[in-house]
Symmetry: C2
Subunit: 288 residues, 2 copies
């Protein structure tokens, strides 16, 4: 039986070290840009996406250190989108993980450019790694028909009537597609065959969507102390959420169904998927 907290802490340390190594030093010109890049990326976080990438590669017998570059590329991309999402003209968030957001500390112009630089660094790290299939995977997941497209619809949906079609589009694109890509990139890097890839995709998409619905649920049901940020912030910002569209009970039921389907997909793969299952359960049973 794997201790998932210990496993994730170990991987987090590995990922943080690799991120530190690949981000330019703070003294590198322009110093303020490199300081802002390091400030944002190294502020902590559970590193769920790169951990999923590493765990998937390990499930197929590939050592985590051989997949570190693709794994941190995913985290760099994710960080870049968070900086832009937090901007005053978007979600206008002042705090993230208890720290001032990038634009509060460095100004909006530098924050936009810091996000740009991290996005480009993400593809630089993938190019250093070499396999163009991984860059293709990340770019398709992150671009106008993935994360960025999801954020456009999320902003446009603020204050509009709850809609099943819209919340599905937003959650799949803004969150699930990148988590699926993290799993698929780990699988591709470890030489997965087509059948394995299909099942890993189902696993990744389902836990990605479940992860976002859990986020929505916690925003309504948790306390400020446990969550580390104000509960009800989605409602206050007129964000469309899964419970707002379907109700709380249906939201929780959907999380259970998605998780079950994710675990069934893993069972079809001839690999040691115990850790991936444990991560899936960790993600849906978390309290913050």
């Amino acid at each position: 039986m794997v201790n998932i907290n210990t496993y994730l802490k170990e991987k987090q340390a590995l990922i943080d070290t690799a991120l530190k190594d690949h981000l330019p030093h703070e003294g590198t010109r322009p110093a303020i840009l490199h300081e802002a890049m390091r400030y944002t990326v190294l502020a902590g976080g559970k590193r769920i996406r790169p951990a999923l990438c590493l765990a998937t590669a390990e499930a197929l017998g590939t050592d985590a250190v051989n997949v570190l570059k693709p794994a941190i590329a995913i985290e760099l991309l994710h960080s870049s989108t968070l900086i832009h999402d937090d901007l005053p003209c978007m979600d206008d968030d002042d705090l993230r993980r208890g720290n001032q957001t990038c634009h509060v500390k460095y100004g909006a112009a530098n924050a936009i450019l810091t996000g740009d630089a991290l996005m480009i660094l993400s593809f630089q790290v993938l190019a250093e790694n070499g396999d163009p299939r991984l860059a293709l995977e990340l770019s398709q997941a992150a671009g106008s028909q993935g994360v960025i497209g999801g954020q456009v619809e999320d902003l446009a949906a603020e204050g509009s009537e709850p809609s099943a079609d819209l919340i599905d589009f937003i959650h799949r694109n803004k969150t699930a597609v990148l988590i699926r890509a993290a799993v698929r990139i780990g699988a591709l890097a470890a030489g997965a065959n087509k059948a394995e890839l299909v099942n890993f995709s189902v696993f990744g998409e389902n836990i990605g969507l479940a992860f976002q619905i859990v986020d929505d649920v916690l925003d309504e049901t948790s306390t400020d102390e446990v969550l580390g940020k104000p509960t009800g912030s989605d409602r206050d910002a007129n964000k469309m959420t899964y419970p707002a569209v379907y109700g709380m009970e249906k939201a929780k039921e959907t999380v259970r169904d998605l998780t079950n389907d994710a675990l069934i997909a893993l069972d079809s793969i001839n690999a040691d998927t115990e850790v991936l299952k444990a991560i899936a359960l960790y993600l849906v049973n978390r309290e913050n």
Copy 2:
């Protein structure tokens, strides 16, 4: 003797067709994002960077159609940085090539996300193309120690004392590095050897820097009608320029020196570099 205007028009048509083919259709969800991407990229422009990429590959005997993907990737990246540079919190420009800038037409949030989507699409097109060396080249040129770094220093320099060190950093990073990359990507894609790459790099960097100094000079000496935008806009925006630091005569002399060195570098390469020479002379002798 090559007719450079005809040559550039032909290549422009080839590049525009490829851009149209690689940008998602306007009906693709989210429609506003894909409309904004197409609006910005397809608004025209001389396509100097991709044309240099194609001309370099052709000089080494490779057909332009075989280098179209890398060429348009450079233009997509360039377009993404223009959208972000034009934002109110940066250069605050309302017009580009006579059209409303992206944020004026679609709002700041959508403009930021349109830039992001184009940046990611640029690396998607390179990943489809396959050779990771080209993505490495573009990411290094565009990132925190290239174009983005140059823009950070450019913004920070507004209103400060003219400085040779600073204007050199800004112009090399904001402009010359990407033009050098366009040439190098064409050379790499066409199988250039190390010695050829070194000379193509000198050529690209020199004409890139000359190109930007000519921009600065025209901003002071041209008329609104010829330039297609208000002259003196750099001065009005407190931008640091080459003539402001060195004076007009020295600026023009530097353009001549850089161009000469660029042409000498080409003469060291065993390739048909007539077109590249003509492009270099076109860039420094242009009137807008």
